[in-house]
């Protein structure tokens, strides 16, 4: 096939689909944003549980991380949407966003645990010596420093989340990838359609990376 023709059909597909893809892109952003918030909250909670002195809390956190990291995201999405309908009936948007959030929580917990444990012991000892209690030490001294160190891996994890959100198409959510499948089935142009949707993901990731960089500079992560 001559190359110029591909550019023409690519442009055609792009122009015919951008309205739908902008809407679908918004859905992708929404799912990612909800998943990131849920994942971060769960991540902080389980990280603190894992480094706590309580054996029970440690066991719960380990169980959660093992189960979630040990099973594929697509299985978790199907489980939440179809598997537990006798307990709770979730709409596909929420089943997808929550599954993605719970999935991320496990990885984010490990990121936080690593960055908290990576803070020099001397910091904690000094803070305790100054008369702060254990919780004050965590809140005022250890956690703020750990957060700065956690930002780069967290950003990485959020980008993975954005791309993993494409998996919720299996439960019928019309986000970018789901729409791309349907568009390709209707215009019979797989190559151009997936090129277009790839471009949308790339743009979203680039925007996200820029935001992250700006935030890292603000926090002076390098220093």
């Amino acid at each position: 096939m001559p190359v110029p023709e591909i550019f023409v059909t690519f442009y055609e597909v792009f122009m015919q689909t951008y309205k739908g893809f902008l809407k679908a892109g918004l859905l992708t952003i929404e799912i990612t944003a909800i998943a990131v918030v849920i994942g971060t909250v769960l991540g902080v909670i389980f990280a603190l549980m894992k480094i706590s002195n309580s054996k029970i809390l440690q066991t719960i956190a380990n169980l959660y991380i093992t189960l979630i990291r040990g099973t594929p995201l697509i299985v978790q999405i199907m489980f939440l949407y179809f598997g537990i309908t006798s307990i709770i009936v979730l709409e596909n948007f929420w089943a997808g966003a929550i599954a993605l959030g719970i999935h991320n929580g496990a990885y984010i917990a490990e990121i936080f645990r690593g960055s908290i444990q990576g803070i020099d012991r001397g910091q904690r000892e000094a803070s305790l010596a100054l008369g702060m209690n254990s919780s004050q030490t965590m809140r005022r001294i250890v956690f703020p420093q750990a957060l700065r160190r956690a930002i780069p891996p967290l950003g990485n994890q959020f980008i993975i989340t954005l791309k993993d959100s494409s998996l919720v198409y299996v439960i019928g959510v019309s986000e970018l990838f789901g729409l791309a499948n349907r568009v390709a089935a209707s215009n019979f142009k797989q190559f151009e359609t997936f090129l277009v949707v790839g471009l949308y993901y790339l743009i979203l990731v680039l925007i996200f990376t820029a935001l992250l960089k700006w935030y890292e500079n603000k926090l002076d992560v390098d220093k």
Binding site: T17, A33, Y81, F82, V89, F93, V170, R182, A185, S186
Partner: protein
């Protein structure tokens, strides 16, 4: 730390706002029959929510960001007859029955053929169209001249479709797809597939769109595409049967069928034809 907190609060607030404006039309009325839904137990109050794969042109597909096609328009006509607002949704075909059983939507109007096996999981209305199961091969394939020539070859079908069992009978080498269109496309890639079993209508649509494929022989059987409804909801099945009869009688059905296919899909001679069950 103050700035960080502010940022976090702003992030959460904006996320919630995004979520809120995107989803505010999703109030649900789970259960409670009879609150303005004429006695049907609907997933969404006042709305007839029906599912199709959305990747099955010309029955259900995306055009200009909207779901359209024969199945979608039949659903709209039926909803109007029942005084409900049509609400078409999509779900991949291989899990569409699971979705119905899990009450994610009220009905499947997704070119699903009635079979005895499926009737164990859901109730079916009268057929709303007939279509044939047909073998398609690559245009330059001279080897396969009738369906039996596919014995032991690599056959592509959509998982959980009525085309899966005959494919399995012919060969152990079945390749599964989520879309018939993608399966047909794979025929044109050398060395991937020997044949695809799908609906005659869908195969001809692909050929009209420039796919380098051709049909083999005559339809192997005729199947009855019907609307599937949850077994807990016989009132809706009855109402759909009545509405279907009404749109056939008043000519709406023929109008829609003519628009998409240039003929009435229900108007075929069933004498001596094998009906798939």
């Amino acid at each position: 730390m103050g700035k960080l907190k502010l940022m976090l609060v702003m992030l959460i607030a904006s996320v919630l706002m995004l979520a809120a404006c995107g989803k505010d039309d999703d109030e649900k009325s789970t259960g409670s029959a009879g609150d303005g839904d004429a006695g049907y137990d609907l997933v969404k109050k006042g709305k007839f929510t029906y599912a199709a794969s959305g990747v099955y042109k010309p029955f259900s597909f995306e055009e200009n960001g909207e779901l359209t096609g024969f199945d979608i328009e039949i659903g709209k006509a039926l909803a109007e007859k029942m005084d409900l607002e049509p609400n078409p949704v999509t779900n991949p075909f291989e899990t569409i029955l699971q979705g119905l059983v899990g009450k994610k939507f009220d009905a499947i109007i997704g070119s699903m053929a009635y079979t005895k096996e499926r009737a164990k999981q859901a109730d079916f209305t009268e057929p709303y169209y007939y279509s044939g199961g047909m073998v398609f091969v690559a245009k330059d394939n001279d080897e396969i001249k009738n369906p039996d020539d596919l014995k032991g070859k690599k056959i592509g079908v959509v998982a959980q479709s009525t085309y899966e069992p005959p494919a399995k009978e012919l060969t152990d080498d079945v390749q599964y797809y989520t879309s018939d269109v993608v399966a047909l496309k794979d025929l044109t890639v050398k060395g991937r597939l020997d044949g695809v079993i799908t609906s005659d209508v869908v195969g001809f649509e692909a050929i009209d769109n420039g796919f380098e494929v051709k049909e083999v022989g005559k339809p192997m059987w005729v199947e009855q595409a019907s609307i599937a409804v949850h077994k807990d909801n016989p009132e809706l099945t009855n109402a759909l049967d009545e509405a279907l009869k009404a749109i056939i009688d008043d000519g709406t059905y023929k109008e829609i069928s003519d628009k998409w296919f240039g003929r009435d899909l229900l108007d075929i001679d069933l004498e001596g034809v094998e009906l798939l069950e």
